[in-house]
Symmetry: C2
Subunit: 405 residues, 2 copies
């Protein structure tokens, strides 16, 4: 017998039939003698519909009211899921975030969990009930409903798992787990059985959509074991957990491909202290998140500054920087949208040398030009031409022998 | 300056455009210097959609989960309404039933209000904010979300008006007020300016849909002045309030026509004590609500028992009574669906005689046969043939000089 948290996303609970199918799956786990706590998202599309209505009424809706509005999506699903379990003879009870005891700070639409005691859930588990908790939401100490931001039902699941000291937090998704590379790009990509929090964080922040970065951080902080697995089959998925020594045997865990970036180059600005600070403070004030940053200074005292942003932010980033050019002492801004970022990730890099050399030589052999390079302790990222992204990913994947074949 | 509660039903807030229109109307009242509290229902159709999903999952959904499910409808509307007011520059804040402080008993799907202090709403009124309260819902002392039953947003409005000692509780609807008769039947039906709680209760229970009976009872108990008015124009509506002496000057306030009834006759049963009790207890156990009851005993010791029920309940009522026939000592059950109930209502009947005589003679002159008669202190109801209902209503309306012409 184990204590298991299962999280099902919006697609898995998208309509009545899917809710019934998920309920049948929960029943299997329950019938095996496990204690089960379920976290669900809003039915797919519901949150977007609610946002569309809000935007049709107010261009910048009040954040408190947005939380009041959006929290209804999950509340609908928990009630329907409880009914679906009842229909299968499984005792079950639904809980809003507030009822489950998830206390947050009062920062509407981006609240952080302040405290979460598992006793309210525990009471129901003791009665043999499955507890269904609404994802994505909590309650502030002032009694206001709060939400955690899009995709944060994963965070609720991990927080629930921590609060009730669950053995595992299973995140159900439409893939079998975390892969060594996107299988749509690399046909022999293989499922990773175990991955460390650090590696998973790199994958999450690199645009792999299987697990939200915030929930991985939370899991890491509290040591919650997470399993990413498919809602379509019963195969075991990928376990995300504390790094163990044997993990370092694998030098490169996987290859991440991010095709959703754009590169902004500010060239020929005068190299003086504070220029970069000025640029990135202004971008930050405009709410633009910058990923990679590279600066070179030439011999003639002029600097070139290059950074990457999400492609949808590139036009805004260009405009924002353009307003600063006079202050920076001239220069030009250029945007390159046709780029991709490819990263190799692995905790083994800490103890193994030669990863960078192998990566660069592989790209050279494949005639791929490297535009930017950025490294961390367990990751090397390069920016290359978008058109060469798939070819490059396949070559790297093969060079590091990550495939199943 | 006055303190005004305004209640808008599901049709009035059915979509984004209608919500904006209602917001503009609230703004007018607010800009006139009034304190405004708004109660809204779920957007029209939403509650039915939610029920349909629940029924597709479970034939008899758990009542706690139904409340969890259905309460989201109103929660969506309050958030959108607050945003719509913000868009017009009106400070506004939304409150779920729980947040507003509406404490109920724990009877899910049919909860009753136990206590409701207005201080939480008061705080916001003092800040100059419009407060938007979700209709139809509250919270039990055990923290569970409860609902009051269909159409009970009126009840919330009246309860809010009482809690904050509002000057008036305006119920916005698709008609200009309460009429002396259904204008679709009687073309010269006139709007009633003032009506007593007792009269309104009779109209409400007689199938006039403008105001829910429970909310009238609540208003009567606490002396809340209610105004029924149109959401499509600015005409003053019908004031429902404590009876004043001058109200008795009008003998008949109006004529109500109920075409949704069926008559069940149990004939030739042995006249012995307990027969009627047996019949109506069994019907009550089956959840069938009986309206009029008439019993005649013939000379030969056999009795005829006739009662009316909602037409949709007639087949079930017939079956239920049929199972009792042996016990009742034989007899037959017959159902007549082609009937209508016509009632004249007025507190003036207490002090004026001759209403019944005038009613019966008017029907006789119109060649309408009376099948059943039932009276109360301020009401006389007759059951007649359905096909003659409109003709009879027009004749009665005219005989009591209720028309505008």
């Amino acid at each position: 017998m184990a204590r298991i948290v299962q999280k099902y996303g919006g697609t898995s609970v998208g309509d009545v039939d899917r809710i019934k199918r998920v309920a049948a799956r929960i029943k299997e786990t329950y019938d095996d003698g496990n204690e089960v706590i379920v976290v669900v998202s809003a039915r797919s599309g519901v949150t977007n519909e609610l946002i569309a209505r809000a935007k049709a009424i107010h261009s910048i809706p009040d954040e408190r009211e947005m939380d009041m509005l959006l929290s209804v999506g999950e509340q609908e699903t928990i009630a329907l899921m409880a009914m679906a379990l009842h229909a299968l003879g499984v005792p079950a009870v639904s809980k809003t975030g507030a009822q489950a005891g998830i206390i947050t700070d009062p920062a509407h639409t981006r609240a952080r969990i302040m405290s979460f005691e598992g006793d309210r859930i525990e009471t129901h588990l003791k009665r043999g009930e499955v507890v269904i908790v609404a994802g994505f939401q909590g309650i502030a100490e002032n009694g206001q409903i709060t939400t955690f931001g899009r995709g944060a039902s994963d965070l609720t699941a991990v927080a629930v798992a921590n609060a009730v000291k669950a053995d595992v937090c299973q995140i159900f998704t439409d893939v079998d787990g975390v892969y060594t590379c996107d299988p749509r790009i690399v046909s022999d990509a293989s499922k990773i059985d175990e991955i460390s929090y650090e590696e998973m964080l790199e994958f999450a922040s690199l645009g792999s959509k299987v697990l939200q970065a915030r929930s991985v951080e939370f899991a890491k902080k509290y040591g919650v074991t997470v399993e990413v697995r498919s809602s379509f089959n019963n195969k075991s998925g990928t376990i995300v957990k504390e790094e163990v020594e044997s993990m370092e045997d694998v030098v490169v865990r996987g290859v991440a491909v991010d095709k959703d970036q754009a590169k902004v180059t500010v060239s020929n600005i005068i190299d003086k202290p504070g220029s970069a600070a000025k640029v990135f403070q202004t971008l930050s004030d405009a709410g633009i998140i910058v990923d990679m940053i590279v600066q070179n200074v030439g011999r003639n005292g002029v600097a070139n500054l290059t950074f990457t942003v999400t492609r949808s932010d590139s036009a805004r980033a260009e405009k924002t920087v353009a307003t600063l050019l006079d202050e920076l002492g001239g220069g030009e801004v250029e945007v390159f949208e046709s780029i991709a970022k490819i990263s190799v990730v692995g905790v083994g890099m800490r103890t193994h040398s030669g990863v960078a050399a192998k990566l660069f030589s592989t790209l050279a052999e494949t005639a791929v030009n490297i535009q930017l390079i950025s490294t961390s302790e367990i990751k090397i990222s390069v920016v290359i031409d978008l058109e060469q992204a798939d070819t490059a990913a396949r070559a790297i994947h093969s060079a590091f022998q990550l495939g199943t074949k």
